[in-house]
């Protein structure tokens, strides 16, 4: 048996590496799109620099040097993804510790992979499909609070939808394997679709923003998060999995 501390530290370390590698993916696939979007933003706002200022009030007299240069922000990307990885990895480890006994598999590695899949669906995929992430130059600064609240709400709904899927899947299991899988899909999808219909529609993409760039940015963002969760899942599975030799001793 492993202590809570051991399980948590593994999650933090695996999360850090997953975050840094996701940052590498984001640097290669995402940064060119962010640069392109910022070029559009700057063209739209005249010579206004990208500093989160009120763009409506942007005027040349208010212009000042950005707090962090573009190259600084590209380095900060790794800080952001690394810290996110640590946070998610730690929360994942706590979730694994508390939920392990409820997961119906004798294999710890499978349990970790299942939990990572659930986390990716609930925390990434469900919010992504309702409120796809936007590059700079998209989004009205005045609605940021509303968009942040609805985004966090979709994470909560995503996790609840996963729980609904698991619950329905377990209930349907008495009717066979196909019913078990179908129950999981139905529970998840029905919850998500119902929530999508209720949640407000938000579309702030300007008509002039290039559709291809938007698509490429969103794909890079999804890829970044998928990289993080894939590595977190497999990395954590590897750290809790027993080596074949260890298994024989304990069996």
């Amino acid at each position: 048996m492993r202590t809570f501390g051991q399980l948590l530290v593994r999650g933090l370390i695996v999360g850090l590496f997953a975050g840094l590698l996701a940052g590498t993916f984001a640097y290669v696939m995402g940064e060119p799109r962010v640069d392109a979007a910022i070029a559009i933003e700057e063209a739209n706002a005249g010579a206004h620099t990208h500093d989160h200022g009120d763009e409506h009030a942007a005027s040349s007299s208010e212009e000042e040097a950005p707090l962090v240069s573009r190259s600084g922000q590209k380095a900060g990307l790794f800080l952001a993804t690394g810290l996110s990885g640590v946070a998610l990895g730690g929360i994942f480890a706590v979730g694994f510790t508390l939920l392990r006994r409820k997961l119906r598999t004798g294999n710890d590695a499978y349990a970790a992979l299942g939990l990572a899949a659930a986390g990716f669906i609930g925390i990434v995929l469900v919010p992504f499909l309702k409120y796809p992430p936007n590059p700079p130059a998209v989004g009205d600064p005045e609605t940021i609070t509303r968009r942040t609240v609805t985004y966090l709400l979709t994470i909560v709904i995503g996790l609840l939808a996963v729980c609904a899927g698991v619950a329905l899947s377990r209930w349907a299991a008495r009717y066979g394997d196909v019913a078990r899988l179908a129950g999981g899909v139905v529970g998840l999808v029905v919850t998500v679709v119902a929530a999508y219909l209720i949640l407000p529609r938000i579309n702030e993409v300007p008509d002039t923003f290039p559709a291809t760039l938007l698509w490429q940015f969103r794909f890079a963002s999804l890829g970044t998060q998928a990289t993080l969760w894939l590595l977190l899942g497999f990395g954590y599975a590897a750290t809790v999995a027993r080596r074949p030799s260890e298994q024989k001793v304990n069996a």
């Binding site: 922000q73 952001a80 006994r101």
Partner: protein
């Protein structure tokens, strides 16, 4: 019905475990907040950390300006 958990590696649920879990998650959520949403109130760095992690926020799918 449930497959027997043959290799349970996790400690048994206890009030101590729940307390540690709660504290850890609270701290980690604070860290996530720092990356995703803080605008200087928590970091006490003005907008510096916020701006530094700007690209990461966008690419991690967090709503941003």
């Amino acid at each position: 019905m449930a497959a027997p958990a043959q290799s349970v590696t996790v400690p048994a649920i206890s009030s101590r475990l729940l307390l540690l879990s709660g504290l850890s998650v609270a701290l980690l959520l604070l860290l996530a907040y720092l990356v995703g949403f803080d605008q200087g109130a928590v970091s006490q760095s003005g907008m510096y950390l916020h701006e530094l992690m700007h690209d990461g926020r966008h690419l991690l799918g967090v709503p941003c300006h």
